[in-house]
């Protein structure tokens, strides 16, 4: 009880007090609005839908297969298939809602989606004044361009583009193979 422990402890706090003026390592707080924010490349928050080209609805990759709706643990995704004028089902969601207040950003929908159409956004400033209009993201709010995707997640975007290109090439090969095989079978007849 003879006070040495306490004095040693006081020395440590003194070192930190003067250290915080000197070394960056001892002063780690970042003043948020002015200073930088430390968003990493992989950080994820609320999902968004990717579209290629200019027109959001036409270039949408999502084909409304509703896999993500089934796999989402808190079930916060709601999809309705689109119908053209004659009532034939289209490979596109008319309504694609995500309830941002329920979504916990677990990225399962991204893993389940076979068409690389839904990815996680890293924008975290989502506060709104109204819980219902503000946080119910409808299709227009969710659709973001591929360039935006390349801006926030360069590596992931590049990887998904390669996979899509790969799939495209395989499809073309199959196409060519089928055409070749059809043309081969054609002459015998």
């Amino acid at each position: 009880m003879n006070g040495q422990g306490i004095l040693k402890g006081m020395l440590v706090t003194a070192k930190n007090f003067f250290g915080s003026y000197v070394s960056r390592e001892r002063l780690t707080t970042v003043s948020y609005p002015e200073g930088g924010n430390t968003i990493k490349e992989q950080s994820r928050n609320i999902p968004f839908l990717v579209f290629d080209g200019e027109d959001p609805v036409a270039g949408m990759r999502c084909t409304a297969c509703q896999k993500c709706e089934k796999a989402c643990p808190p079930q916060c995704i709601f999809i309705e298939k689109d119908k053209d004028e004659r009532g034939k089902a289209l490979q596109r969601p008319k309504v694609f809602d995500i309830d941002a207040s329920v979504c916990m950003g677990c990225q399962i929908c991204v893993e389940v989606c076979p068409f690389e159409s839904i990815w996680m956004d890293s924008n975290f400033e989502l506060s709104t004044f109204n819980r219902f209009e503000g946080l119910q993201f409808n299709r227009e709010k969710l659709l973001k361009s591929n360039t935006y995707f390349h801006k926030i997640h360069p590596q992931q975007a590049q990887a998904s583009d390669d996979r899509l290109a790969e799939k495209e090439r395989k499809r073309l090969e199959r196409e060519a193979a089928r055409r070749a095989e059809k043309s081969a079978s054609e002459p015998q007849v």
Binding site: M1, G9, T13, N16, F17, T28, T29
Partner: protein, 432 residues
């Protein structure tokens, strides 16, 4: 009323021109103005009498409330930097307007009184805690003959006033009818009453040496007279500093004891049991909000200032500091740098140490707190009294080694006595 006013203004002009010429003792400017104002108020009758009294007390309250605002900013900045983060830096440059922002927030906050609390006690507690806090300041010698009331038994008055704090803390704890504040109130009474003993005994040592309880006399005694009146400026500086009681062996021990029991009296860090926020939420302050809470806060800080002021007057030589006699003045007692600069410097240094301690040390338990007061501080204070008595009558070459030896030995003995069996058996950790 019009003619008295311009007569008053004309007198000021006359006085200034007369005095500014000589300025033989620069640190007495405030005292000159005060004396002149008092003579001016003299011939104003009853209004003058009231104004003269107000002139003695109102600046005191204003200055120490300003110090309170500055310390809240200092505390938050200091604690922030100790914990590797910025302190407040949004409100004003470097967060200097933070105390103002806190004050306004406290004013606007709704003042909730619990339905079952007895209203009178709940309302009176902050009022009563202000009385000892503010009257404690009256006896502090801020500068050379700048003192609100230099009465004969100033020190005794200060400790008597200090004992009222426990009454108001208990009233707050009892009145808010909340179990946590009841426990807080009981702890506060036990702590404040049992820490008065070491506080008074460690202050008595100085009274024994100086021979009077008048604080300004105590401060005068902490100058080496022969050096101060000599001509060499270096000697004058040293004379003002080396005379402090803290440089005597019994003085250093007395200062440490007084500082530790001051920590306890002011409910500061290792002894802040009455409002231990991790155990009993905010102790006796749980049911207070709005401006009553701010009043409690102000009273606590001003009480800390009062006790630190007494520490500086008794052991660190109140307004004495390394300053020299201005060459152009003939008055032997004149000083270049005014006394209150040193007084407030010392107060803020001690406050800084308190903030540093608050940033580091955890809290004691209630029975250890009591044990620490009665079994650790009190014996040391009594031994210090004994040693100071012998030191007074011994030659310096006997006195110093004797007192240093006795004090260190007694410190070691008391530490060993307090070390219980199970506690601090240094632990061995086997690795499987």
């Amino acid at each position: 009323m019009q003619d008295t006013l311009n007569l008053f203004v004309m007198n000021i002009g006359q006085w200034l021109s007369a005095n500014l010429g000589t300025l033989n003792n620069p640190d007495q400017i405030i005292v000159e103005i005060a004396r002149w104002l008092r003579t001016e108020f003299g011939n104003w009758g009853v209004v003058g009498f009231i104004l003269a009294n107000l002139m003695a007390t109102v600046p005191l309250i204003a200055v120490f409330s300003g110090c309170f605002a500055l310390t809240t900013w200092l505390e938050r900045k200091g604690l922030g930097r100790i914990q590797n983060r910025y302190g407040p830096n949004r409100v004003g440059p470097y967060g200097l307007f933070q105390p103002m922002a806190d004050g306004i927030k406290m004013l606007l906050k709704e003042d909730i009184v619990p339905e079952r609390a007895d209203k009178i006690g709940h309302f009176l507690a902050p009022v009563i805690i202000m009385i000892p806090a503010m009257t404690g300041l009256v006896f502090l010698p801020i500068g050379r003959n700048i003192i609100a009331a230099s009465i004969d038994s100033a020190l005794l008055f200060f400790f008597a006033i200090g004992s009222i704090v426990s009454l108001s803390v208990f009233m707050a704890g009892w009145a808010s009818h909340n179990k946590f504040s009841l426990v807080g109130g009981m702890r506060a009474i036990a702590q404040l009453v049992s820490y008065e003993m070491p506080l008074i005994l460690s202050a008595v040592v100085v009274v024994m040496f100086v021979g009077s309880m008048n604080t300004s006399v105590i401060v005068e005694a902490q100058q080496i007279k022969s050096w101060v009146t000599s001509d060499a400026p270096a000697l004058q500086c040293l004379g003002q500093v080396l005379g402090w009681h803290v440089f005597q062996p019994w003085g250093l021990m007395g200062f440490l004891l007084l500082f530790v029991s001051a920590l306890a009296e002011a409910n500061r860090s290792p002894f802040d049991l009455p409002e231990a926020d991790s155990e009993i939420i905010a102790g006796h302050l749980t049911e207070y909000s709005g401006f009553k809470y701010a009043l409690f806060f102000l009273a606590e800080y001003v009480n800390t200032f009062a006790i630190i002021g007494i520490c500086t007057t008794l052991f660190l030589g109140g307004w004495n500091g390394p300053n020299i006699r201005p060459p152009w003045s003939d008055d032997p007692q004149a000083l270049l740098i005014p006394g209150f600069v040193w007084f407030f410097l010392k107060i803020f240094v001690l406050m800084g140490i308190m903030i540093w301690i608050r940033g580091t040390l955890p809290r004691l338990r209630i029975d250890q707190l009591m044990g620490f007061a009665w079994k650790f501080l009190l014996p040391l204070a009594i031994i210090n009294l004994l040693v100071a008595g012998c030191f007074y009558h011994m030659e310096w070459y006997f006195g110093w080694p004797f007192s240093i030896l006795i004090l260190c030995k007694s410190y070691a003995i008391v530490v060993r006595l307090n070390k219980s069996k199970l506690v601090n058996s240094n632990r061995t950790y086997t690795y499987a």
